[in-house]
Amino acid sequence: MKIFWTLLRRELSAFFFSLTGYVIIAAVTFLIGESFAQLIDGLGTDPWPMPVTQMFFGSIYFWMIVLLVSPVITMRLFALEKASGTFETLMTTPVGDFQVVAAKFAAALVFYVVMWLPLLICLFIVGRFTNQASALDSGTVGGMSLGIFLAGGFFLSFGCLASALTRSQMAAAMISLAFGISQFALAWWAKNNPVSEQWQSQLLSCLNIFDQMNDFARGVVDTRAVIFYASVTMLFLFLTLRLVESRRWK
């Protein structure tokens, strides 16, 4: 556990002592701000049809941020260490493979959560200046936070896997971006096609990240979605661990 905390500290310092980390935070803050400016402007003074969090999740901004930023956060994790050779110095100390994977994923997740904090400020401002009680309540904010967290785990764990696959950060980023976009496209397809009896269609509806996120944003925490995200995250982390271990039997 001591080693895990040491590794986590080092991974976090790599995010926060580098310009990249602040560029990512600045870019995300900008995008969140822009999306809220549009939301509020579009709404005017009419009664809001749905909670403001749901509108945010329904906009393209949320998905842009998640899909574009998670590859950028995770591409460095293993690929850079492999390319620079520090992977060798790291793995020849008495650290466990599991500790390394867990620390890297945890650091990415912590950074991701920090990156989303400006959203709370935006919500606070909306809450402060609106008199529509239905627009924002603690349930929707909680659901939204959980949704963002789970989606982050899902995409970041895949990013870890992609980064462990290759020595090139670019390749890692492209692999996880392709995965993110394919998930997005599948969800889009599922959204535009009604669920039928066929098993393909059933499966697709389970993978529909739009509907899941929509539920979270309304403050509805569906255990199926929670279990889906948590288990897939675990699966990707397990595969990453196997990849890191693979150098021992290759």
Partner: protein, 316 residues
């Protein structure tokens, strides 16, 4: 300290190390010497538990590098080739991070980091960012990292590569000072370096160990068939006749030197020292000798001879 037996490592389609065996005793400084691509780094990577061997076993301090990898890793300090570091970290912070990874406690790691920073001459640059340090300093950071947890075995892959002569000297001094307390395995392709630092050398070529001995013994082994060079003022014909009658001389070559001197190159049979014999000969005949030397093979010759690719030998 290290026992390697029948170790083989194959990469896809290429055998990097083939069936090597060697042992290193506690407290020795052993040099792994060989040209680039001889399998030195691969051997070190296997010993440091980064990669498994394809076949054969390696044990460090009695622990198997594959099955008891964690125990082995606790006991070694390894500095890979090119000394990779995290460029964005500060020197002290990096060493402390490494000490913690290697299982040192909070207080102990602080003490040890201070000690190794002094030992490696890093006391002045503790707060500098590693990426901005000169190559010599970075190399010392790598060494300090290898030493920080007081490992029983230190494995250094080309520790002096890319340094200027002053820096090489200080790194060598540092490594020499480790003898006794630590066992050190160093790889290098620079011969004088191994000669200076190591108590024993393993010469590797093409994945095999071709020779393993002390630098002195290696030299002695080669000295056996070393040539005698003599410059004698005498008629060439007379010299040839004399030499052909001495049974101890296997081969001789007489060529005209300066003035009346003849330059004679003599190869002895069975590694004899011919010099007293030649002196006696010249004294008996009343010839003047200007030079009489035994051509000592430097380790460089040995190295070149042992590691020479086959095709060159065939051409000769």
């Amino acid at each position: 300290m290290i026992e390697v037996s029948n170790l083989t490592k194959r990469y896809a389609g290429r055998t990097a190390v083939s069936d090597i065996s060697f042992a290193v005793a506690r407290g020795e400084i052993v040099g792994l010497l060989g040209p680039n691509g001889a399998g030195k780094s691969t051997t070190m990577r296997v010993l440091s538990c980064f990669m498994p061997a394809t076949s054969g076993t390696a044990r460090v301090a009695g622990f198997d590098v594959f099955h008891q990898s964690a125990e082995v890793r606790r006991r070694i300090g390894y500095m890979p080739e090119n000394n990779p570091l995290y460029p964005e970290m500060r020197v002290r912070e990096y060493l402390k991070f490494r000490a913690r990874l290697k299982g040192l406690g909070w207080k102990k790691s602080r003490e040890r980091v201070t000690t190794v920073m002094e030992q490696c001459g890093l006391a002045d640059v503790g707060r500098r960012v590693i990426g901005q340090l000169s190559k010599g300093y970075r190399q010392r950071v790598g060494l300090a990292d290898a030493l920080v947890h007081e490992p029983e075995l230190i494995i250094l892959d080309e520790p002096t590569i890319g340094l200027d002569p002053h820096q090489i000297r200080s790194v060598r001094q540092l490594i020499k000072s480790l003898a006794g307390n630590h066992t050190v395995l160093i790889s290098t392709h620079i011969l004088p370096e191994a000669e200076m630092m190591c108590s024993r050398m393993l010469i590797m070529f093409d994945g095999k160990i071709l020779a393993s001995d002390t630098p002195e013994n290696l030299q002695r082994r080669m000295a056996g068939n070393s040539q005698i060079i003599a410059e004698i003022a005498a008629p060439a014909e007379a010299l040839r006749e004399c030499f052909s009658q001495i049974p101890e001389i296997e081969l001789f070559d007489v060529s005209a030197g300066e003035g009346e001197f003849q330059r004679c190159a003599l190869t002895p049979r069975d590694g004899l020292d011919l010099r007293p014999m030649i002196f006696a000969l010249a004294r008996d005949r009343g010839w003047v000798i200007r030079e009489l030397t035994r051509h000592r093979h430097s380790l460089e010759d040995i190295y070149v001879q042992i590691t020479r690719p086959d095709e060159e030998e065939e051409n000769e």
